[in-house]
């Protein structure tokens, strides 16, 4: 018998089968364009950074930030829409599907999307010759951690609001600053000291540092266990929040 979590995942995949074409650009082409414009274009003016070619240095960052942005982007309109307009979760609520199945099924769907993008990106950057260590194969796992850490709280947020205009604020005040200042394009040490803790708070920074350590083959700035632990804790808190937000929304 199919587990209800699987049934929920299947529903999202069914929808994706209808819509996947539109995601090709954002999932696969956009990250590569970014690499070309910044990594190669701007990189041409940058010598080595931390002993590596600039392109090699930002590849893991772009990979982690793609996972981060996809996870957030996917968890906004789709989640709110499934509560507010489609009422898909209300439909599930009337079946044996439990709230934890709804959240778990959704996270699996996000992981499915992010993993495909991460593996494709890994392959392309391998062809660019931008991977320096066999440890690079663990980057899809790091992308998975980043994705859940980002998607879970955003899913919770989307389940708690009623106005989609809040998403523009989420993108502008959380997602974009994280992407731009969490060590993807330049080392966090360049930030004014007072702002650095903000970067450390972002799950993206931990994902970027872990990915970079993996593709270059060096030790991350903090012990790897601390980075992983932070991401796990962030994800766990996000999941708890999501379950409670779903419960509250579907309550009455």
């Amino acid at each position: 018998m199919a587990h209800p979590t699987v049934a929920v995942l299947e529903r999202h995949l069914h929808l994706y089968r209808r819509l996947w074409r539109a995601s090709v650009f954002s999932s696969f082409i956009l990250p590569v364009l970014f690499l070309v414009s910044i990594g190669i274009g701007v990189g041409g003016y940058i010598g080595d950074i931390e002993g590596e070619d600039y392109l090699v240095w930002i590849v893991p960052g772009v990979m982690a930030s793609t996972a981060f942005q996809m996870a957030i982007g996917e968890s906004t309109y789709s989640v709110l829409g499934d509560f507010k307009w489609v009422r898909a979760y209300h439909a599930m609520r009337a079946t044996p599907v439990e709230i934890r199945d709804m959240v778990a099924g959704w996270m699996l769907y996000i992981l499915f999307r992010v993993e495909i993008a991460a593996v494709v990106f890994l392959g392309i950057t391998g062809l660019f010759g931008a991977l320096r260590s066999p440890w690079a194969v663990v980057t899809p796992l790091i992308a998975a951690l980043v994705a859940v850490a980002a998607a879970a709280p955003v899913t919770a947020f989307a389940a708690s609001i009623d106005q989609d205009s809040y998403f523009a604020l989420l993108f502008r005040f959380v997602m974009i600053p994280s992407t731009l200042f969490a060590g993807v394009f330049f080392p966090v040490e360049q930030l004014p000291e007072a702002l650095r803790p903000l970067a450390y708070l972002s799950p993206l920074w931990h994902g970027v540092e872990l990915s970079r350590a993996a593709t270059i083959g060096v030790a991350p700035p903090w012990p790897a266990a601390v980075h992983v632990g932070y991401l796990l804790a962030f994800a766990a808190a996000g999941l708890l929040w999501a379950v409670s937000a779903f419960r509250k929304r579907l309550q009455d």
Partner: protein, 306 residues
Amino acid sequence: MSEQPLIYARGLVKRFGDFTAVDGIDLEVAPGEAFGFLGPNGAGKSSTMRMISCVSLPTGGELRILGLDPARDGSRIRARLGVCPQLDNLDPDLSVRENLTTYARYFGLSKAQARSRADELLDFAQLQEKASSAVEPLSGGMKRRLTIARALVNDPDLVLLDEPTTGLDPQARHLLWERLFRLKQRGTTLVLTTHYMDEAEQLCDRLVVMDGGRIVAEGSPRSLIETYSTPEVVELRFADGVDYAGKLEGIGRIDPLPDRILLYADDGDAAVAEVHRRGLTPSSVLVRRSSLEDVFLQLTGRTLVD
């Protein structure tokens, strides 16, 4: 009733903050029954339905569905219920058939089972031709039939329908009633809410009238009409707007409404003759059989559809 009731409630209460939506109701619904909740908007029908469908938990009282406790066995109960909500929540981006198969998977049906069940239900809902169509362009009546078909996907012991025909045109309503009647004939237990008395009379073996979160009357449509009304009702309209209620005294019970006067009588024609004998000349006279609306008016002092 020797069989265990599918729904059993004692002193059931639902509060939202200070507001009491359901104020201590008792219910029993037996297998095979078609049971209705009749009442205006805000009477507490939908809140009661949501508790029965194990989506919202009671604030107080006792509730057993299929002999189980919703607080503990919500998922097990829901596995055996079919719910047709008041607002359609079909997946607009999935096809008609996919809506059925996807939903079937929530109940743990295998893919093959889901497919064959979907075929049966497409037949039942007379949507075979629309199977691969998107949901969005379907008419309101078709969407409703699909929602009801979807509620049957797990071959439920109990089907809950919250205002199944609200917002549909008369033709679509009749088609839907016919489908629901077939379900009833097959012995499916139906529980529905409605604020249309014709719907209740058509479909329900037994019903309760709810008002202000309480049950104000209970029985079969016929017995309710017999208890709370007279066999016939005369509707009188007067062109000049003078209050004639006083002059009608003694003919039968009188209900003066803003636009007309209702006169309850065992024999409508005799009552009309008496009105004319008293020298009154109403601009229009209608003699009709008593309906649930009259019961409702009698019980709550308000017309049902505002």
